[in-house]
């Protein structure tokens, strides 16, 4: 799993937020479109693409997209 690929998959869950707005340093919970439903989408995406899922705490403990990537990487 590469960081760039994860960022792209992460950005893919958004409708109104342009992919160019999302980088490894993006504080994703500050994005207007972020919601609990999006958190579930990100978790389902992780399961579908990488075979592991996030728990509620994982997403709560992450601040940037890269944090999330690292959490996921540690589960692989």
């Amino acid at each position: 799993m590469e960081l760039q690929e994860f960022i792209s998959n992460f950005a893919d869950q958004f409708e109104d937020t342009d992919a160019s707005e999302i980088t490894k340093n993006t504080i994703f919970k500050d994005l207007d479109e972020w919601s609990s439903l999006l958190a579930l989408s990100v978790s389902a995406m992780a399961e579908e693409e990488y075979g592991v899922s996030f728990k509620g705490d994982d997403i709560r403990n992450a601040s940037t997209v890269e944090d999330l990537y690292m959490i996921l990487k540690n589960k692989l």
């Binding site: 609990s36 439903l37 579930l40 989408s41 995406m45 399961e47 899922s53 996030f54 997403i59 709560r60």
Partner: protein
């Protein structure tokens, strides 16, 4: 003592009795005088429930209701019963775009096909006594409303809603009643493994006019009403127990 909700001289089968609503239902049924047959997949946890049953004459059967042989085995071991409570079930919070047929099958298998087939086998083999009562633990989700990322769960409970009405008609000539309870969110460990955070749960609680989730024992008591002769003229209905959630 006068008690129209008594279950004495009744034998009640409770599925999903290892935890949550099933566990509470089994224990409360035993306290109201029923002989209880409990089933679950986890031997250790099922045994825990078994040890908490009051009075004598109970049984426990380890069974995976999604396996045909396991189901057959359970049905063969049952002589006659007066009630079934279908508590075994799962929930998955998955946004619709990720709701693949495989994931949907897993939920529908346990929430819909398993209780349907168990009921059918018990009916076909004439194991349910006249005056019997079948209760499905359904949900407000899928019958009156849904929730984000709950389409698959709602679909399974919506299917149960249709099923109980049809079975209620088919079994009425045998004097067997079929109903469901449709709770709002109940505090069970069905959430423990989930992706939903504590904050999210607190926020969800505020949606309830009574400002909290339900307790397993409260669902158990509504089930007991439907099992008892106090509800002898009720069939094909959904008993709403939701802290006022669907009022607004």
């Amino acid at each position: 003592m006068y008690n129209p909700f008594s279950l004495s001289r009744k034998t009640i089968l409770v599925t999903g009795a290892s935890s949550g609503i099933g566990k509470a239902t089994a224990i409360e049924c035993s306290k109201l005088g029923a002989s209880v047959i409990i089933t679950g997949r986890n031997r250790e946890r099922l045994n825990e429930t078994f040890s908490e049953l009051e009075n004598e004459g109970h049984n426990q059967v380890i069974a995976d209701l999604c396996e045909t042989s396991s189901l057959q085995n359970l049905v063969t071991g049952i002589e006659h019963i007066d009630g079934i409570v279908h508590c075994a079930g799962i929930t998955k919070n998955i946004p619709f775009q990720f709701a693949t047929t495989d994931k949907l099958s897993e939920i529908i298998n346990l929430n819909f096909f398993a209780p349907t087939e168990l009921t059918r086998l018990l009916v076909k083999n004439k194991k349910i006594n006249k005056g019997g009562s079948i209760v499905f633990i359904s949900s407000v989700s899928g019958v009156l409303c849904s929730a984000p990322a709950s389409s698959m769960y709602s679909a399974s409970k919506g299917a149960v809603n249709g099923l109980i009405k049809g079975i209620a008609l088919d079994l009425a000539p045998r004097g067997i009643r079929v109903n469901s309870v449709i709770p709002g969110v109940v505090e069970t460990n069905i959430f423990e493994a989930g992706v939903i955070s504590e904050e999210q749960l607190e926020e969800n609680k505020r949606m309830y006019p009574l400002k909290r989730f339900g307790k397993p024992i409260e669902i158990a008591h509504s089930v007991i009403y439907l099992l008892s002769d106090a509800s002898a003229w009720i069939t094909g209905s959904n008993l709403l127990i939701d802290g006022g959630l669907t009022l607004q």
